[in-house]
């Protein structure tokens, strides 16, 4: 299942609808890094609210997405990680180091707007 990518001003928003296969994640990664430059976006939000499991592949892909997008000149925020998922992730040692996180979409947008202000 493909992940829809929405454009909202200078921000791209990718919302996971359900658990994704590894192929879906790879597809999302390439779609995001292409579109971020095509739309001249300055921020990307990946919303994982609907995910109730986060395995090592998913978490590594999220980290790669964030780092690649930074190389393409934009900021990434992962939003909506559930408390149980967060706890399970740290127990597995998947801490998304160096990646910005926020509570939900609203917080993520607020975070990016803050960032854009300081970037000017």
């Amino acid at each position: 299942m493909e992940v829809p990518i929405l454009k909202q001003g200078a921000v791209l928003i990718a919302t996971f609808q359900a658990a994704l296969s590894d192929a879906d994640l790879n597809q999302l990664r390439s779609a995001l890094i292409q579109q971020v430059v095509r739309f001249r976006s300055r921020g990307v939000i990946v919303d994982v609210t609907a995910m109730d499991v986060m395995d090592s592949f998913a978490s590594r892909t999220l980290r790669e997405i964030a780092h690649m997008i930074r190389l393409r000149g934009a900021e990434t925020v992962i939003v909506g990680i559930q408390p149980e998922v967060a706890f399970a992730m740290v127990q597995l040692g998947l801490t998304l180091e160096g990646v910005a996180t926020a509570l939900d979409l609203e917080e993520g947008l607020a975070y990016l707007n803050e960032k854009f202000k300081t970037m000017k």
Partner: protein, 284 residues
């Protein structure tokens, strides 16, 4: 079979002897108890009253060779005296004293008939040892029950997650943290972050006396999990001992944001959230 009969015969004789000399033996025993400074937490009258009941249950246990009543009494006694600070060695000590006192009286009584004394002791000693055992075990079991109960109570003292300002939570941790409680704390905190939409959390561990590797790692995990929910954690009140332990055992606290005390932690949290606290007027 004959031997067994003889043994109970002797025990009967023994019991009769103990009943006959009840007053004198009991007083001697109480005298020995205060001499050796046992049960200092209790008054003389109390010791005497308890000694009387212990003596009677003791004799009864010898007579019937059943220990249930004595066991129940020992448990009941322990329940009463444990809160007053009576120690295990004291309880064991008084039972052994009674055993000695009674043995002495047997020596005195049968000193002319050595063979009989031997047989009486053969009957008496196993029973007396079992009694001492029963009382000591009863006491220790009661003590363990009290300890278990207290642990339960401590665990149930749930740690509150408090909101002190919009988007700022405080989690004061007091007491011993074991892995189970640590897990519970983390779950509570993560839920709290979600429901209060917190951005900053101050975890205050002033009330935590000691911390081992497991708990320290758990704390680090809590900090990381909170970050995944988009909240910054500030840990305050690390005692010098804990700081020393953590550095010695090599827990990586690089990811942790620590401030000396709770006040400092709240002030830093306010800065992060963009609050500015100012006095309304100069203090007079």
């Amino acid at each position: 079979m004959a031997k067994r009969d003889e043994s109970s015969e002797l025990l009967r004789e023994l019991v009769a002897h103990l009943r006959q000399n009840r007053t004198q033996l009991r007083e001697e025993w109480v005298g020995r108890i205060s001499e050796t400074r046992l049960l200092t937490a209790m008054t003389k009258e109390e010791i005497f009253a308890e000694a009387t009941s212990v003596y009677d249950s003791y004799v009864e246990a010898l007579e019937t060779e059943t220990f249930e009543a004595l066991q129940a009494y020992a448990r009941n006694l322990s329940e009463r005296i444990i809160p007053r600070g009576v120690e295990t060695h004291e309880v064991v000590g008084i039972v052994l004293l009674l055993r000695d006192v009674l043995a002495r009286s047997l020596f005195a009584k049968y000193q002319t008939d050595f063979k009989k004394l031997n047989r009486i002791l053969d009957a008496y000693e196993p029973a007396a040892n079992r009694i001492a055992n029963t009382v000591a075990v009863g006491f220790v079991q009661e003590r363990e029950r009290v300890i278990r109960q207290q642990q339960e109570a401590i665990r149930e003292l749930s740690t509150p997650v408090l909101q002190v300002r919009e988007r700022l939570l405080i989690l004061p941790i007091i007491g011993v943290i074991d892995p189970q409680r640590a897990r519970q704390l983390t779950e509570q905190l993560l839920r709290g972050i979600r429901t209060n939409r917190a951005k900053v959390v101050v975890i205050d561990i002033t009330g935590v006396a000691a911390m081992d590797v497991t708990v320290a790692n758990h704390l680090v995990q809590t900090v990381e999990a909170s970050r995944l929910l988009g909240a910054t954690v500030i840990v305050t009140g690390l005692s010098p001992e804990i700081a020393q332990t953590l550095v010695t055992i090599g827990v990586d606290l690089g990811k942790m944001n620590t401030v000396g005390d709770l006040q400092g932690g709240i002030e830093q949290a306010e800065r992060l959230l963009g609050y500015k606290v100012a006095a309304l007027a100069e203090p007079s």
